[in-house]
């Protein structure tokens, strides 16, 4: 009896196979159903194990070809959970297959917010900024550290997501929602991101004025005056103007980038920027 039951469950080998397929979650990303095919593809080890006829297989594949979109790395969590639910449905038939998609959909939004702020908003800018600072001095060490760091992060999250998601199954959804864990992590990532943004602006946004004027016999350089009062005020000002134009005036990021390039040329011609 025990033997039969353990044979029914997904093995570690199956989970590794899901892990490998999870990496391809967004290889066919499209604007119709986003990562749907990637998700269906990740479920194949489960399908192959429990369903033998094309008709049964088609039914499961169809279920996972529904719209799915979240941050690619953290998508490993719903994939692990869905694998556990599919296993349960295939072996015990005591859950509604509709609930599998319901769980996926419920996790999609919060996980995307968390993944975006944790990876794109915090981890990557910190590591990349550090690497760029070292690279500016001609050191190759920075990029290497960046690459190693990001490799650990991307593979680590995917491994944790698939294995932990499977192990905890639906329980994980309840835990995540009840404890507000996703919301909490998102807020903490926001805190870290804000410190990084505030701290990076004076060092990364590069703008200097060359305006100088004469007061009596001495030449006063505007940049030096500004540095004395509030260093980094120009980068800060430009960023806040961009933020204002983006949020209040709904100007697109690409338009703003062009605007700054044009502003740069005008500024240099008028001897304001250098």
């Amino acid at each position: 009896m025990t033997d039969e039951r353990s044979a029914e469950r997904l093995t570690r080998k199956d989970l590794w196979s899901i892990f490998f397929r999870q990496i391809f979650i967004r290889s066919a990303l499209n604007f119709e159903r986003h990562q749907a095919m990637g998700f269906a593809n990740a479920m194949i080890p489960v399908i192959r194990k429990y369903y033998k006829t094309p008709k049964e297989r088609a039914e499961v594949l169809k279920r996972h070809m529904e719209l799915f979109l979240t941050q690619p790395m953290v998508s490993a969590i719903p994939i692990g959970i869905a694998a556990a639910m599919e296993e349960r449905y295939a072996t015990k038939k005591d859950i509604d297959p509709e609930s599998i998609n319901a769980v996926k959909t419920a996790l999609m939004g919060p996980l995307a917010a968390l993944g975006d702020s944790l990876i794109n908003g915090t981890a990557r800018p910190i590591l990349a900024g550090f690497a760029a600072a070292l690279a500016m001095q001609g050191s190759i060490i920075g990029p290497i550290i960046f690459l190693i760091g990001m490799t650990i992060i991307t593979l680590g999250i995917r491994y944790y997501g698939v294995f932990k998601g499977y192990e905890q199954g639906v329980r994980m959804v309840a835990d995540l929602q009840k404890s507000g864990l996703i919301a909490k992590l998102t807020e903490l990532a926001g805190v870290a991101a804000l410190v990084v943004i505030g701290g990076f602006i004076p060092q990364v946004v590069n703008v200097k004025t060359v305006v100088a004027y004469k007061a009596g016999d001495t030449v006063i350089k505007l940049q030096e005056t500004l540095d004395g009062l509030m260093p980094g005020v120009l980068p800060l000002g430009i960023t806040l103007i961009m933020y204002y134009l983006m949020t209040r005036k709904k100007v697109s990021a690409v338009t703003l980038m062009f605007l700054l390039m044009v502003l740069g040329v005008i500024g240099v011609y008028l001897n304001i920027l250098g």
Partner: protein, 250 residues
Amino acid sequence: MFLKALLVALWVTWGLIDEQTFQFQTTRPIITGPVVGLILGDVKTGLLVGATVELMFLAVVFVGTAVPPDPTLSSAIATAFAILTGKGADIAVATALPVALIGQVVTTLQYTVVNVFFLHRGDKYAAEGNLRGLTLMNTLPLLMNFIFYGLPAFLAVYYGPTFVKPYIDMIPAKIIQGLAAGGGMIGAVGFALLLKSIKALYLWPYFAIGFIASAYLKINILGIGLLAITAAALHSHFMGSQKYVESPRM
């Protein structure tokens, strides 16, 4: 030169494949710059261009389905132009943005037309219960990256400098300098995007802490990173077991 251009094309293709699979971030300018520099025999310029373009696009985060300007093709071509025309990092900054925007259009085309075609083929295989067919349809789009990004990179590196150099020579030095100055400010757009993505406005004092630490106390980039982690840990502690609310997204 043929071989070098081909190697750059293959690297760009790999960069896109990486972005669409593992996400080791080899797609970022900070990696692509030095690698293209290595291929073209000038790692130093590659590093400099890579770092400069990386900082331009550092915080550019497009949430949800929006397609960001392409970092890989642009930094590869910018590095190649900087090295092959001998004009250094300034010309790279002037090249990077236009190429990144062309890349953005190409990516949009890929997601709206090409990959939708593969999706519909995938639907057909799914309906037949054909597992191998579905995997194939999910994987084939990766190869398209060679056509979409590899080929343009090859053409730009192989023919680009000879075609473009006379025109670049015609551009007044002041314009190049101005474009470089503009490129230096572009980072601000990325930070604004990132600020916009953080919905909890009551957290803004942390923004001030970061700014003060950097502008007044002159703490370097790594120090700011450490400060950020510390701030998050403290925030977590003092918030205790307080209930967090899901912030609405998009």
